[in-house]
């Protein structure tokens, strides 16, 4: 039985030319099988028989190869995943291109559905195995070596982690939390990578605004391109372009929420870039304009208009939930956990975040509708009875006035000073 960690095991191997025994690490490229994994392609949307057939052939190759990989013993599995680039690209292509259920992709072919389900499960199991440094008492890798292997070999990277959360996070949250938690714990460089990724996420917000001909609050930081084409307004752009904006928004918001829901510990890193303020500004700018455009544009099919509305409504919900995840992780949870000790910095954070948000009236009312601000403030008051009431009542009044300005009636469950 294997007693040493896999990264320290040496195996006796006869030299092919001399026959002399030499010792090689158990994790060595020569132990990789030349399997040649093919890349994943999503199912064809139009159901053309030749394309369906090609998809099935490709998908069945992958399904068989993944089954083979899952059946490999611990040492051979790790040799394959570390040294087989075709396997890594295959997994990456699946994560990147597999349809998300919210895409509302429908392919009625039962064989397509069956193999998609097979791949869905197998890909998850491969990533689960790759995120486990201790598979059993006998089969394990030292945590430090594991951290290096997964990071240096790009077995996991931030886009893949985001994909894993959005593809598998709804149904397999418990396992996925352990997986992602273990990856970040064993390799803190992922926090640095996340930190480097946040500006690109913010850039995606700006890019969506640009496509809509809108500008974010902090947009002036970026120089305007001299030869930038004149923007088409949301009312005039081709319907496909308009649809793409909604698809992009929907995917962006769902993916962000999925990641934060699975790994709320990312909140502090994201907030280094004032993420939630940027998110709220983005919401404030984009939501009313898109709502208005969906209502006013002419659509050949009402079903498309309804679908786009649903997509926007879903995106709004996910942006608010993502915001709440961060508030909860950074302020509310520590207050609840710490009792009365050392909670002042968290209370201060909460008050500062909301004070800075008070001019984002549309965001504020929508947030308050889902997560009543007054309830959180009441929590703060219970945890810290000598809380400065001037500041809290200022926030509550601002929320109420945002409701008044919106012309909508505040739901009865959103408590406040109304």
């Amino acid at each position: 039985p294997q007693t040493l960690p896999l990264d320290q095991i040496q195996l006796p191997v006869p030299d092919k030319r001399t026959g002399k025994i030499q010792h090689l690490p158990a994790l060595h490229p020569s132990r990789k099988k030349d399997r040649h994994f093919v890349l994943y392609k999503p199912p064809p949307q139009d159901g053309t028989p030749a394309l369906v057939e090609e998809f099935l052939e490709r998908a069945n190759f992958i399904a068989n190869d993944l089954d083979w990989l899952l059946a490999l013993p611990h040492d051979k599995f790790w040799c394959q995943v570390i040294f087989d680039e075709t396997m890594q690209k295959c997994l990456d292509s699946f994560l990147h291109y597999t349809p998300r259920q919210y895409d509302e992709f429908v392919n009625p072919n039962p064989a397509v559905e069956e193999v998609q389900k097979h791949l869905h499960r197998s890909v998850f199991m491969i990533f689960l195995r790759m995120s486990t440094h201790k598979e059993s008492k006998e089969h394990f890798i030292t945590p430090e070596a594991f951290g290096e292997i997964i990071y240096d070999g790009f077995l996991f990277d931030i886009p893949k982690i985001f994909d894993l959360c959005v593809i598998f996070g709804k149904g397999n949250a418990v396992l996925l939390k352990k997986m992602i938690g273990n990856i970040f714990n064993q390799q803190p460089n992922y926090f640095n990578d996340l930190n480097e990724t946040v500006p690109t996420i913010l850039q995606v917000f700006s890019s969506i605004c640009d496509k809509c001909g809108l500008r974010l609050e902090n947009h002036s930081q970026r120089p305007q391109k001299i030869d930038a084409p004149t923007k088409v307004s949301l009312m005039d752009m081709p319907v496909q372009e308009f649809k793409d904006i909604l698809l992009y928004l929907c995917d962006t918001c769902t993916t962000l929420f999925a990641f934060l829901d699975i790994f709320p510990e990312a909140s502090r890193t994201m907030q280094k870039h004032e993420f939630i303020h940027r998110l709220a500004s983005f919401y404030e700018v984009i939501v009313p304009e898109l709502e208005s455009a969906i209502k006013k544009r002419r659509f050949d099919e009402t079903s498309l208009q309804e679908n786009l509305w649903k997509r926007l409504s879903h995106s709004r919900k996910k942006m608010i939930e993502a915001f709440h995840c961060i508030i909860n992780n950074m302020c509310l949870q520590p207050i609840l956990e710490n009792g009365s000790d050392n909670i002042l910095p968290f209370i201060e954070d909460f008050l500062q975040i909301f004070t800075a948000l008070l001019h984002q009236k549309r965001f504020l009312t929508d947030y308050d509708e889902q997560f009543p601000v007054a309830d959180d403030i009441s929590l703060l008051q219970q945890a810290f009875p000598v809380l400065d009431e001037t500041r809290t009542s200022y926030i509550i009044k601002a929320v109420d006035s945002a409701w008044e300005a919106s012309g909508r009636s505040k739901p009865t469950f959103a408590t406040g000073n109304t």
Partner: protein, 198 residues
């Protein structure tokens, strides 16, 4: 058409990935097919093993079995193409034996397996192979056949427990969760833009 995705943008514009450039075309399917053929050529069960194994049948069945082996080889040659070496044809015949040993007709799964191995193929060749294998296999018990097929599998592959087999997995995924329907009075909202109050 590729759907716009947040992680697509992160792959393209952040510097935290390997920045793999890959395009999916059908050339990798060709490569995969030839790899599979190579793999089966290297599997331990050989044509010799098979011919040796069938010698165990009763004396009066010898001729029938030999004829069926010849039919199987002929069908294998049709599937791999006449330009291939005898060795490749024999390993194709072994593959067909493994595929059809417990089947009395060419079903969906078998068609899939044969196609994966040889690409598009004449169905008559598969049917001929299947019938020949069926007639050969009917001379042996299930146990004898399993012994032949499993004795030569590479060690540690089929015997190992499939990782994750006992892990509960859910197919539940994120779906659209709209919090409100398209307002029925949106046309009224629209009309607010027009005013007769000059």
């Amino acid at each position: 058409m590729e759907l716009p995705r947040l992680t697509g943008a992160l792959r393209s514009f952040s510097n935290v990935t390997r920045q793999d450039e890959y395009t999916v075309d059908s050339s990798d399917l060709m490569t995969k097919r030839s790899k599979l053929k190579e793999y089966y050529c290297q599997t331990e069960l050989t044509w010799n093993d098979l011919t040796h194994f069938v010698e165990n049948v009763a004396q009066n069945e010898h001729q029938v079995v030999s004829e069926n082996l010849r039919t199987l080889l002929k069908a294998a040659r049709q599937l791999v193409g006449i330009e291939h070496e005898q060795e490749t044809v024999e390993s194709a015949a072994v593959f067909l034996f493994k595929t059809f040993h417990d089947k009395d007709h060419v079903g969906h799964e078998e068609t899939k397996a044969v196609k994966q191995m040889f690409g598009p193929f004449p169905s008559s060749a598969a049917t001929t192979a299947c019938n020949a294998v069926y007639r050969i296999a009917s001379n042996f018990s299930e146990e004898e056949l399993q012994k032949l097929l499993c004795a030569n599998e590479p060690a540690g592959q089929n015997s190992h427990v499939h990782f994750g087999k006992t892990i509960k997995f859910s197919f539940d995924s994120f779906v659209l969760e709209p919090s409100e329907e398209l307002p029925l009075n949106w046309q009224t909202d629209n009309q607010k833009d027009f005013s007769l109050d000059y």
